[in-house]
Amino acid sequence: MRQTSKRQILGILALLAGLMVLPHFLQFHHQDFMIFLGINILVVVSYRLMTLTGEWSLIHVVMMGVGAYASALLAKEAGLSFWLAMPAAGIFTALVAALLCFPLFRMTQFYFLIGSFAVGEAIRLAWIYFVNPFGGSSGISGIPIPELFGIDFFNPISYFYLVLAVVSLSLLILYRIENSRVGLTLHAVHWKAPLAESVGVDTWKYRSLAFIVASLFVGIAGSLKVHYLGTVTPHQFGVGIMVFVLIWVILGGYNSFFGPVIGAVVLSILDESLREFEDIRPAIYGVLLIAGIMFMPKGLESVAPNLAGWLRQRRTTTDNRGS
């Protein structure tokens, strides 16, 4: 495990402190934005864990929906408190992912991409078709807001702190995974699977592990999202959203842990500022996507070398590996 230097720890604490103060200076609308940005960061970093093994799936956003629906049903129908529903939703999503490993990981590369797309779409259609219990096209509404010691979570600032806490903890865990032996093994599976196999690495197991862990965290993200919105519908988890996630990861760069975060932040802010151009926004995204791939194929993280170098954690002194 990389020894995070004192400088980096201080930097992160400073960032967190700044984030805690920030919402008080923002309008409601932007506070809203910060909440969704936080959730999307979790989505994007959990996706990256999967790409470490070299597998690009198109089912990630649907897994977010699985967590969202699970949380909604647990809270609304089973009366579970949010504080139980959210982790339960994450675990449920992980279980679904574990089941899906069996069909999905028989395919690799291109077939896996298409296969994951198909399974995801089938799940989404199931939400639409089975009106009981999923509510069909209009989904489920009236999802209860979290409650804790009388804190008013309708207030975006309070919800933002909730998101900040959950996402920070999740990122910490994901970061530790990546920098542990498990993370190193995931990299090995990506670069030279046969070589990894020859030293005893069960590549199927590790690919599955990445998928299951990624799904667990994105399921939690889904839960956070729908408890804020109060409604869950199938359209929140369609192909369009999956494409956005891909854009954030690819344009941000996926060589480092924070590349996708940069992508999500920069592109979300860009997205916000283009709000007035609502109608042609997808086209602008399209142009940005093409421009990004053509001129910055290594992503934003490669354009900010100083910042990225400070944050990047891959090639380092090896003495601390494993401690």
């Binding site: 028989r106 291109f110 077939y111 991409l113 298409i114 089938a122 109608d279 399209g286 996507l289």
Partner: protein, 311 residues
């Protein structure tokens, strides 16, 4: 349908009528399946061509079909151009878009499959917005069938001339494509590149030119499909979504490298989907299709007719 009448004669008549209705529905579904199959085949063939020859998954393929449909709407329904002229224009327009995509987006990313795919997603967004802007918001566009009228057989089989026309043109286009691929030098060159690009280049085949031709044909098929579909379907900026999903399913089930597999799978899938939609539900039909595709991917990733196991 008359319900159970008071007199036995009425009831027998009602049952007979119900029987005819069932038969009619069944026969009609067969006709619809054939017409749909023609479209699915045109869609799938375009996707397979581009993937086979150029190695890239063109996510904007559905939007190319959509552009074909929109062109016909704009030229024929809005501006009154004769249908056939609009159809030809639609095909040419989509071909041009295809050429542009190959020249500026796919060629620079020839080594990078993911890059090409991302570029095609960019085009997907752009085309959807263009359609939105040109067509405006509001309900789906409709194009009145330029060939109205129906051929009625035996009082039970109704064959709208427009659908017959669409089916004939689809089949003709597919036959032409097969002729082109199997009996012309250019067609052989295309197949050679699909089989082994490096070896073909070493033999002196101009990869750039072949790629242009591949996407040109793919675009032509897509544009043609869109133009033929226009009088029969709701035209919206998002109609490409269904096209790409169906094309994926058909392509995988038919065999990723195989054109004849794609055509066969297209008709089989059309039958399955039409009948399930009629007798159960449209959403269930698509779900079945997706699940069949996943089963094929697990059991025999090369599909019905494919032999090459991909990387």
């Amino acid at each position: 349908m008359r319900g159970g009448g008071q007199m036995p004669g009425c009831r027998r008549a009602a049952i007979a009528e119900a029987g005819v209705f069932v038969l009619e529905l069944f026969l009609q579904s067969i006709i619809n399946s054939l017409v749909q199959g023609g479209f699915f085949a045109l869609w799938a063939v375009g996707l397979v061509l581009v993937f086979g020859v150029m190695g890239v998954v063109n996510f904007a393929h559905g939007e190319l079909v959509m552009v074909g449909a929109y062109s016909v709407w704009l030229l024929h329904a809005e501006w009154g151009t004769p249908y056939l002229v609009s159809l030809v224009c639609a095909v040419l327009l989509v071909m041009m878009i295809g050429f542009g995509m190959e020249r500026y987006l796919f060629r620079p990313k020839r080594e990078d499959a993911l890059g090409g795919l991302i570029n095609s997603i960019g085009v997907l967004f752009i085309l959807q917005v263009v359609a939105h802007v040109i067509g405006g918001t509001g309900p789906a566009k409709q194009v009145a069938p330029p060939l109205p009228g129906t051929l009625v057989i035996d009082g039970i089989l109704r064959l709208p001339y427009q659908r017959l026309f669409a089916l004939s043109i689809s089949v003709a286009a597919l036959l032409l494509l097969f002729y082109f691929l199997t009996r012309t030098r250019l067609g052989w060159a295309l197949r050679a590149v699909a089989l082994d690009r490096e070896a073909s280049a070493l033999q002196g085949i101009n990869i750039n030119r072949i790629s242009m031709i591949a996407i040109g044909v793919s675009g032509a098929m897509a544009g043609l499909a869109g133009a033929l579909m226009a009088p029969m379907t709701n035209i919206t900026p998002h109609m490409g979504h269904n096209v790409i999903i169906t094309s994926f399913i058909v392509t995988i089930v038919g065999g990723i490298g195989s054109l004849s597999g794609a055509v066969l799978a297209a008709f089989l899938y059309a039958f399955m989907h039409t009948f399930v939609t009629v007798y159960v539900d449209g959403t269930v039909a698509t779900m079945c299709g997706l699940l069949i595709m996943v089963v094929v991917l697990i059991i025999k990733p090369t599909g019905i007719m494919g032999q090459r196991v991909s990387e």
